[in-house]
Amino acid sequence: MQMRLINRRPGRPLTVFLALLPFVLALIGYTIASEIRLAANPADKLLPAPGTIIDTAVRLFTEGDRRSGRILLWHDTGVSLMRLAIGVSIAAIIGLVTGLLIGLLPHVRAALGIFVAVLSMIPPLAILPILFIVFGLGEVSKVVLIVIGITPFLIRDMSQRVIDIPTELIVKGQTLGASSMVIALRVALPQIMPRLIQAVRLSLGPAWLFLIAAEAIASDLGLGYRIFLVRRYLAMDVILTYVLWITALAFLIDWALRTLSRRLYPWAGEGL
């Protein structure tokens, strides 16, 4: 009998094959496009051959700068990750605390609910010039851009998650004698912690976007700065190496957060 497509599941080997397929296809597509361009013009810089990219990557990861001797890629990575970590941590803490207050306390909800909804509609990049003017061109303005960029989303998501906690559990806590503080600390907080990690994972994409945007405009070190610097020489091999490196970092961070969430909150069930 012909089974419906929605009921047909791939076996284990096929699953691995299907997971790898898009990567292989993308690589083949790129290689073919690169071959075509290089055949027409061996000096073409737009689509360097995969071999060239690997050579460049090895050079970038291992060889120091000719003038200072420092391996710039590692310094770029360190500075960028530091900015990202500080920005995302501050945003997560503000989102968690404000979300708890809005979700649990009707008075705070009445005061801040609409305000946060309006605030989240401000395009963060549009106020980037203001940040550079107010906070200068140093580290602060870059971190603040990340914070401003993702905090409204985190606040809204966290407040909704708190509101979504079944009323039964909140009432149950009260019948066991819990004060508002105890309800917040022992019922609401642990229930939304896995949600916080999930929300942070979702907001890492925008966080990288804001980081690279800020670094592109004014910086002297950082992954985004480097990409926008070598753009002037059309050094596609360097840009592509950096893009792949950023992608790998972002994927690793995402995977680490997911693993952390499963370790710390085994009761929360499997997520994506």
């Binding site: 019948t175 105890v182 600390l185």
Partner: protein, 255 residues
């Protein structure tokens, strides 16, 4: 004055009356089953008893105290769903009944050890002693409801409220839970209110079965009138009233 005294309760949501003119006097240690069709205000009445909502008119007093403004430790509750905290282990769910009274919700040092020991005793009593370290998601429906009842009783409430506690259980587990609950009730002499859809369950467990229904019905506007208590059965002795002789007689009794 009765232990639980419900006096002329009205409750409406906006213009829509849900329950009206409800009066009820319950003695300490009585088991009251509440039955009625869906949408007849049973759950609303339970929420009023719980003080999760306050009535539009009328008062509910427990042991003559002022009507409560919000839920507290004198009223315990077991819901049909979300009856225990999913993020705490089975043992911590019982310990929470003691820890939640503290300022920050945590017990420290000796207090925690003592509470854990008491929690283990409770778990042994309700047959969950071996599951202390598991999360509630690993428990069956019947085990979860036993845990919920154990948790509610640990807080030593004056009145225990049960909102269709066995509604989602299979028939076999349900009967086991009946025995469990009757044994606990005999021991603690707790005053219990139980909302149920199962008439047989209501008569089996309850000392009294009260029925919520709408006494007035407007066919052109079904929501015009609220529900009230229409029957109040004596459910002792298998629901057959007048089986216990009230006064002293000289008639020889079978020994």
């Amino acid at each position: 004055m009765a232990f639980v005294d419900v006096e002329n309760i009205f409750q409406s949501y906006g213009p829509r009356p849900i329950i009206e003119r409800v009066n009820l006097a319950v003695a300490e240690g009585e088991f009251i089953s509440i039955v009625g069709a869906s949408g007849c205000g049973k759950s609303t009445f339970l929420r009023l008893l719980l003080a999760e909502e306050r009535p539009t008119r009328g008062t509910i007093r427990i042991d003559g105290a002022e009507p409560a403004l919000e839920p507290g430790r004198e009223r315990g509750i077991v819901f049909q769903r979300y009856s225990v905290f999913p993020h705490m282990t089975v043992r911590d769910n019982i310990v929470a009944a003691e820890a939640f009274q503290t300022r920050w919700g945590f017990l420290g040092g000796a207090g925690r050890r003592a509470a854990r020991d008491r929690a283990q005793e409770t778990l042994d009593r309700i047959g969950l002693g071996h599951m202390g370290a598991a999360y509630p998601a690993a428990l069956s429906g019947g085990m979860q409801q036993r845990l919920a009842i154990g948790q509610a009783l640990t807080a030593r409430p004056r009145v225990l409220l049960l909102d269709e506690p066995f509604g989602a259980l299979d028939p076999g587990t349900r009967i086991a839970m009946h025995d469990f609950l009757m044994e606990l009730q005999r021991e603690t002499r707790m005053t219990v209110f139980m909302v149920t859809h199962d008439l047989e369950e209501g008569f089996k467990l309850g000392d009294r079965v009260i029925v919520f229904d709408k006494p007035r019905w407007d066919p052109t506007d079904p929501n015009a009138y609220g529900a009230t208590i229409t029957y109040d059965f004596d459910a002792r002795n298998g629901g057959i009233p007048f089986q216990t002789i009230q006064e002293d007689t000289h008639v020889l009794q079978p020994v």
